[in-house]
């Protein structure tokens, strides 16, 4: 179990230090600073073992969060907790920055006391936490309210309190995906996967029971066997194979296991319903075609073509192509048809930005790079060209089929709920070798 938790700023100064177990001494704080933050070689592994003590860290902008333990803990659990903690902190005071942490240190200690007990993670549901850890200071709660909170936190449905009422019952559903790709110069896919999240924002009265349906291949196939042939024909190839998925604690896992249906009583407000990962039949929104030619020792010619590969009616946004340049670049000339391109010396790359681009189009950039002859004969390693974008569809092919809401006690039905669905596909690590 987690023995202690430390938060450092970029200089390695400790901002928050909370020790849960005796086996973690004061020197652990310094050990992490010396061996990870100030390490000569940048530490890339998120888990570091120093003197039989394990340090799990995540970094948010300039802030390091490190969980420490001497025991053999489940690393995935620790990281899950750290991410949850980041979420909780963001929900309470916005961006995680040194300034914010310093201003809210009392709150953070209070939170830490609540979400970790003797190193065991506890309830980290923001909504629930906000009911009893507030920033408003002394807001004397009535006996009734207090007992309500107690019954909620200790009860079966800890993530939702009773008696919520909305005039308009609304539901927002976002499918957020990030697509990762590594492609060879010849256009062969070396690796590709999509990691996606279904994020919901629900403003529903009472204790509704929801059911979520998507084009999961297993479900569709099962239905197909059931005999509703037209349904299969309609969705046809459009079902997707989900490699693995995780759910919010509100989802009834037993039902998912037996019927593969996702039913739940939603928390109030924003939450992440599920996470999933797919690797098959990914729609790659962009294709990058690089052409690099070395002209003598002092010149390099680069031509890069990008092709958008989705419905012409859709628009991709925030497109950015990053073309690395050799370390001995002494000058760059760029010509591009669309968007803006600039040589950024501080990053050793040409950055080409396009605001919008419709599907089934192509665009190109060409650059001339001048090189300075150097002493060492090391060849340039040619790092891959990377790309960033945002597209309004799910590259995995996921479709929301339905989201039904049942509330037997209150008198509103599925049809009365206003539902919004949105798909956003972003680039993760989207690289093409050149």
């Amino acid at each position: 179990m987690i023995g202690g938790l430390f938060i450092y700023n970029h200089k390695g100064e400790v901002l928050i230090s909370r020790v849960y177990r005796d086996d973690i001494g004061r020197n652990a704080v310094d050990a992490f600073r010396v061996n990870v933050i100030h390490a000569r070689q940048q530490v890339r592994s998120p888990v570091t073992n120093i003197a039989r003590t394990s340090f799990f860290h995540v970094k948010r902008s300039n802030i390091w969060l490190a969980a420490v333990t001497k025991q053999n803990v489940n690393a995935a659990m620790v990281f899950e907790f750290l991410y949850k903690m980041c979420d909780v902190m963001t929900a309470y005071f916005g961006k995680i920055s040194e300034e914010n942490i310093k201003n809210n240190f009392v709150l953070i200690y209070e939170l830490l006391d609540e979400i970790l007990d003797f190193g065991y993670p506890q309830n980290s549901e923001t909504g629930a936490l906000k009911t009893f850890i507030t920033q408003q200071g002394i807001k004397s709660q009535t006996k009734e309210e207090q007992s309500q909170i107690t019954s909620q936190v200790t009860g079966q449905i800890g993530w939702r309190r009773e008696g919520i009422k909305y005039r308009r019952n609304e539901l927002f559903l976002d499918v957020l995906e990030s697509v990762n790709l590594l492609m060879s110069p010849q256009g062969q896919v070396l690796s590709a996967h999509v990691s996606g999240r279904v994020v919901m924002k629900s403003y529903l009265s009472g204790m509704p029971e929801c059911k979520f349906g998507m084009n999961d291949k297993i479900v569709i196939d099962k239905q197909g066997k059931g005999g509703t042939t037209d349904d299969t024909a309609k969705s046809g190839k459009q079902s997707i194979a989900i490699d693995d998925c995780t759910f919010h604690q509100c989802v009834r896992l037993s039902k998912f296991d037996s019927e593969r249906s996702i039913s739940f009583i939603p928390p109030d407000g924003e939450y992440e319903l599920m996470r999933y990962r797919t690797t098959k039949d990914i729609i790659l929104p962009f294709r990058v075609i690089p052409l690099v030619r070395e002209v003598g020792r002092t010149k390099l010619e680069v031509k890069v073509v990008i092709k958008s590969n989705f419905k012409p009616s859709l628009l991709a946004q925030k497109i950015e192509v990053r073309i690395p340049t050799p370390l001995n670049t002494s000058g760059v000339q760029v010509i591009c048809m669309k968007g803006k391109a600039k040589y950024k010396a501080s990053e050793n790359a040409i950055v080409w930005k396009i605001k919008r681009m419709a599907g089934m189009k192509e665009s190109q950039i060409s650059a001339e790079i001048e090189l300075l002859p150097t002493n060492d004969k090391k060849k340039w390693a040619r790092p891959p060209i990377s790309m960033n974008f945002e597209v309004p569809f799910a590259p995995s092919g996921l479709k929301v089929r339905y989201l039904k809401v049942f509330e037997p006690k209150l008198n509103y039905s599925d049809h009365d709920v206003i539902k919004w669905v949105r798909y956003i596909g972003r680039s993760g690590i989207y690289e093409t070798r050149c």
Partner: protein, 1061 residues
């Protein structure tokens, strides 16, 4: 010079720990000073030398310098202008520092970097700057000197931050040809930091340096010299080693250039001594000591000290010059030296260096010089007594530095009782000084003083203070020195007190020094034991207090001594019996107890409280708590009990018969149990009594503990002096030093020879005579006693070569073990000089057999009748350890320790027996890895037939009678040869005595002639030999005649001797 300052600083300010850990702080201090206040020449030299000593990786430090330079821009500019003497300022073609030299761009860049919040931001900023510089260096338009300098500076800064720089070298080289001082300086700085020696640019750089050296402009010459020193590569040395001495001794060279040249030459000499050739300049360098410019003297003396260590004879003349220089400094009033007075102390660095130089030489023979020197030393000692002229720590540091250096010179001379005693008194005052470092240094110097016979008594007066220091001192390193000093000052008169104090200190001593302390206590107790019961008490106490730190050698030694001394045996048995009664006792105690009770239990059996059965039960109660070797020893003790006390037989047999013994999973224990059981039941009492007889006394031998201590401390720590003393004391003790003997052990161990345990850790030796090819004449018996390594016998038995067929070796132990892989290569052919080396040892027994840059092999040997023992000392002269060190005689040997630590020495002992006469010396092959390279050398072991001579005294007529008896032509060998050395009667006598024969006076009618007689003892026979040597002083010729009863012997002796005179 900076070197000294740092050393000096370390000696004075470092916390008594090894030098260097304050180095950093000191250096930065120094650099700050050198930049800000480099007014004096001394400081300027400092900067050079100092930057030549820093390794390239201490980048941050240089950053600091660079930054300091910017920060102290104005002052730096001032120092630069100071660099040129006022009168030259106008003539020098260096312009006054212009306003634009501030390099604003660089300052902005550095402050940008400093303001970066994160590593990433810093990298981004650097990438941007690099791109900028690349675009500037692209070569489109020519850059002016100023911008070139600025960008090169930036590159340098980026490099020092830890980023790789792969361009800009060409621009830096271009800067070298600039006429502006600052541009040139930055160019040189870049090159000395960044250019590696195999760069192709080195030719261009060398060219630029050559130009600057011949430019006659002193500042440029200095810069070039500094660069050579900073790079200090072999290529540089090749290019400039001839040039620099010329500059150094040229009459028209400026003083500042001379300084730089001297230090530069020193650096080159240190990196590649073979390239700096001695020539006529050496004598002129010595005369630099007379230079009126103190800076030059200081720089030159560093060079001279280093050179004279290698070639002492060439620089002999420097002694008198140094003495006169020293006396001038010491006797001068502090105002005389102006710039060179440091906190009221005149030229402290120079004085220290002079004193150190003098330590390279013996005391001057010239009475006047010596008188002057003694006067100087006295003055220095007097000055130490004067009240301090300043309260500043620098004043006392400088003063004390000179004082300590003077004291070490006094110790080095070791001939002025008066001075030695005064030095000792002075140090005595420091013993109670507030300053920890002074106490440390005082203790350290006193250690060396204690070994001098003149000051030993004086040192002893401080015993109380030292003991007090041991008890109350807070710094562990000072306590360690105090312990060392106690050890050094110990003699018969205070031994008891010191040993008692050390024992009581041992209980609280630091773990790191306990083992050494234990060894020291053991040695002192043995060395100064008058009363052996005291010795036994002490050692048993030692085992009780610090059992874990008592090494095998210590308790071996107790047993050796107890066995050899009849009077102490009863007491020892009684004491160990009492000690064993403690509920928890250390395993070493059980070992000693088991051994001694097994041998001498009968001496205390009369007392009912320690009846045989009680003794046995006491021992057996410890049995189960012990490790296997101890159990094996206890089993041997039990069988001895059966012999000593027949009444215990049944009990012991019962124990031996028990399953835990007779079916023990350890083969050794099981075997012993079975054999002892059988032995006790089968053999008659007579047989038992013979087999299990009391151990015979051990033969005399050097204390193994001493060897162990020596090994622990490295060769330098225990002086030969001490070794000799140990020996002498041993003899005083009435042959107390006796070592183990194979036969003795074999007798005591009725069981089979066992690899795992013997009572004394010495292995029983199965005779291999039958197995050895062609029973020859020289028997070399090697067994472990070096205290080096008792296990891991590895040997390489080679087929006997043509010369060794008369050699028979008796090695020891498991001959089945595989030879180490390193030895599988063929031994090298004997060194060409090995014959000469051999001849060197015909007339002497001790000395250095072989020496090269890596290894020194020393020999000590002694012979008695047909037996001899040879100690080989392998000394590692490097700081790197030798790996897989093996030695092979072309007969068998036992391996020495396969590792020799840098600076350490290991010992190998070879026992030699002469079977019959022989011609060729045995070959010794040595292999080891130094670094990665396999070193392989073969030497002739200096064992010659004459070593086995027994001198025979006889009267004149006896001699001639025998001479006539040996008149057959083949019995006589005669040689007439030319003298190689001067014909000095005394030398000749010494040589003939060294040969081993008796020199017979008044035998030969011609008093010029020498006659000798001796008998060569071999196992097979005795060969009487007579010698007659007739020198002819006019012709410088000798006639040597030898007659002996065996023709080969005469021939061989004649050959050997002919080389000697």
């Amino acid at each position: 010079m900076a070197g000294t300052e740092v050393q000096l600083a370390n000696r004075i300010t470092s916390n008594g720990l090894e030098a260097g850990h304050l180095g950093r702080k000191r250096q930065s201090e120094l650099s700050a000073r050198s930049v800000t206040s480099s007014v004096r020449d001394t400081d300027r030299t400092k900067t050079t030398a100092f930057s030549s000593f820093i390794p390239k990786h201490s980048r941050c430090y240089i950053i600091c310098v660079l930054y300091e330079r910017l920060k102290f821009k104005t002052k730096f500019a001032a120092s630069v202008s100071e660099f040129v003497r006022p009168e030259e300022k106008n003539s020098a073609n260096m312009p006054a520092v212009s306003k634009g030299d501030g390099m604003r761009g660089l300052a902005v860049f550095i402050s940008d970097i400093r303001n970066c919040k994160s590593k990433e931001a810093e990298i981004k900023r650097i990438n941007k700057e690099l791109a900028n510089i690349r675009s500037k260096f692209k070569g489109d338009k020519a850059l002016d000197g100023y911008s070139k300098k600025k960008y090169v500076c930036k590159l340098l800064f980026i490099f020092l931050l830890g980023h790789d720089i792969d361009f800009g070298h060409m621009e830096a080289v271009n800067l070298l040809s600039s006429n502006k001082y600052t541009e040139k300086q930055i160019g040189y700085l870049f090159i000395s930091v960044l250019v590696n020696s195999n760069s192709e640019l080195i030719r261009l750089i060398n060219n630029a340096i050559k130009n600057d050296l011949s430019s006659r402009n002193p500042t440029f010459m200095c810069l070039a010299l500094h660069c050579i020193a900073n790079v200090g590569s072999r290529e540089m040395a090749e290019a400039f080693a001839g040039e620099i001495p010329r500059i150094l001794v040229a009459g028209d060279t400026m003083d500042s250039v001379k300084q730089s040249a001297a230090l530069c030459l020193l650096r080159l000499y240190k990196t590649s001594p073979d390239l700096v050739l001695m020539g006529e300049w050496t004598s002129r360098v010595v005369h630099l000591l007379n230079d009126q410019h103190m800076g030059v003297v200081t720089a030159a003396i560093s060079l001279i000290t280093c050179l004279s260590q290698k070639n002492p004879d060439e620089f002999k003349t420097c002694v008198s010059l140094a003495v006169s220089r020293l006396s001038r400094i010491v006797s001068s009033a502090s105002t005389d030296l102006q710039d060179y007075t440091y906190y009221f102390v005149p030229a402290p660095w120079l004085s220290c260096k002079l004193l150190r130089l003098l330590q390279c030489y013996p005391p001057p023979e010239d009475g006047a010089v010596k008188g002057r020197l003694v006067e100087c030393l006295e003055t220095i000692l007097n000055k130490a007594q004067e009240p301090p002229k300043s309260k500043k720590v620098q004043h006392s540091n400088a003063k004390n530095a000179i004082l300590f250096e003077a004291i070490s010179l006094i110790i080095h001379y070791d001939s002025e009782p008066n001075l030695l005693v005064r030095a000792c008194n002075q140090l005595g005052q420091f013993l109670q000084h507030r300053e920890t470092n002074l106490r440390y240094l005082a203790l350290e110097s006193m250690c060396t003083l204690a070994s001098s016979e003149f000051s030993h008594e004086a040192v002893k007066t401080h015993i109380e203070t030292v003991i007090n220091a041991l008890k109350t001192e807070r710094d562990v390193s000072v306590r360690q020195r105090a312990a060392d000093l106690l050890y050094a000052m110990c003699d018969r008169s205070n031994a008891k007190q010191i040993v008692a104090e050390m024992l009581s200190y041992l209980e609280t001593a630091d773990y790191s020094i306990r083992e050494e302390m234990v060894l020291k206590v053991a040695i002192l107790a043995e060395k100064y034991a008058v009363d052996y019961s005291w010795y036994v008490d002490t050692i048993l106490n030692l085992i009780r207090i610090a059992g874990d730190y008592v090494s095998e050698e210590v308790w071996y030694r107790v047993i050796q001594i107890v066995i050899n001394r009849d009077d102490v045996q009863g007491y020892a048995a009684k004491t160990v019996f009492e000690a064993l009664q403690a509920p928890a006792c250390h395993e070493n105690m059980v070992k000693v107890g088991g051994y001694i009770l097994g041998e001498f239990g009968n001496l205390i059996a009369g007392d009912p409280r320690s009846s045989p059965l009680v003794q046995f039960n006491l021992l057996h109660s410890k049995f189960h708590l012990c490790s296997v070797p101890t159990r094996a020893l206890l089993l041997s003790a039990y069988i001895k009990f059966i012999n000593l006390f027949p009444e215990t037989k049944s009990t012991i047999q019962e124990v031996l018969r028990s399953d835990s013994q007779i079916r023990n999973s350890d083969v050794e224990l099981q075997q012993r149990a079975v054999e002892y059981l059988k032995l006790s039941s089968i053999a008659s009492t007579d047989v038992l009594a013979t087999v299990l007889e009391e151990m015979p006394p051990f033969p005399e031998r050097e204390s193994s503990i001493l060897a162990k201590l020596k090994k622990k401390k490295g060769p330098g720590a225990v002086s030969v002096n001490e070794l000799e003393e140990g020996k002498r004391e041993g003899e005083l003790n009435g042959g107390g030093e006796r070592g183990g003997d194979n036969s003795g052990i074999a007798a005591s161990n009725a069981s089979t020879p066992s690899p795992s345990a013997d009572l004394l850790g010495l292995r029983t030796v199965p005779p291999v005579t039958a197995a050895a090819p062609s029973a020859g004449s020289l028997l070399v018996d090697v067994f472990s006693e070096a205290g080096v390594n008792d296990d891991g016998f590895l040997r390489d038995l080679e087929p006997p070569t043509e010369s060794s067929d008369s050699l028979l070796a008796e090695g020891s132990g498991d001959s089945d073990s595989a030879p180490p892989s390193a030895v599988s290569e063929d031994p090298a052919p004997p060194l060409p000089e090995s014959n000469e080396l051999l001849n060197k040892f015909v007339c002497k027994n001790n000395g250095v057999l072989f020496e090269n840059q890596l290894l020194q092999i020393g020999i000590k040997s002694e012979y008695r009748q047909n037996l001899g023992r040879m100690y080989l000392f392998y000394g590692n002269k490097t700081s790197v350890q030798f790996v897989t060190f093996t030695t092979t005689l072309n007969v068998q040997t036992k391996t020495v320790e396969p590792l020799i630590e840098g600076g350490a020495q290991v010992q190998q002992v070879i026992n030699i027996e002469c079977l019959t006469d022989f011609l060729d010396a045995p070959l010794l092959n040595i292999k080891f890895r130094y670094g990665g390279a396999l070193q392989n050398l073969t030497l002739k072991l200096p064992v010659t037939i004459n070593k086995f001579f027994q001198p025979t005294e006889m009267a004149s007529h006896d001699f001639f009678q025998r001479w006539k008896q040996l008149s057959q032509p083949q019995q006589e060998a005669q040689k007439i040869f030319k003298a190689n050395h001067a014909m000095d009667t005394e030398v000749l006598k010494a040589k003939l005595l060294g040969l081993g024969m008796a020199l017979l006076e008044n035998v030969d009618p011609n008093p010029e002639n020498f006659v000798c007689a001796g008998v060569i003892q071999t196992k097979a026979q005795q060969v009487g030999s007579l010698l007659r040597l007739e020198p002819n002083a006019q012709a410088q010729m000798y006639r040597l005649t030898l007659r002996s009863s065996k023709d080969t012997v005469s021939q061989r002796l004649c050959e050997l001797l002919a080389e000697q005179f």
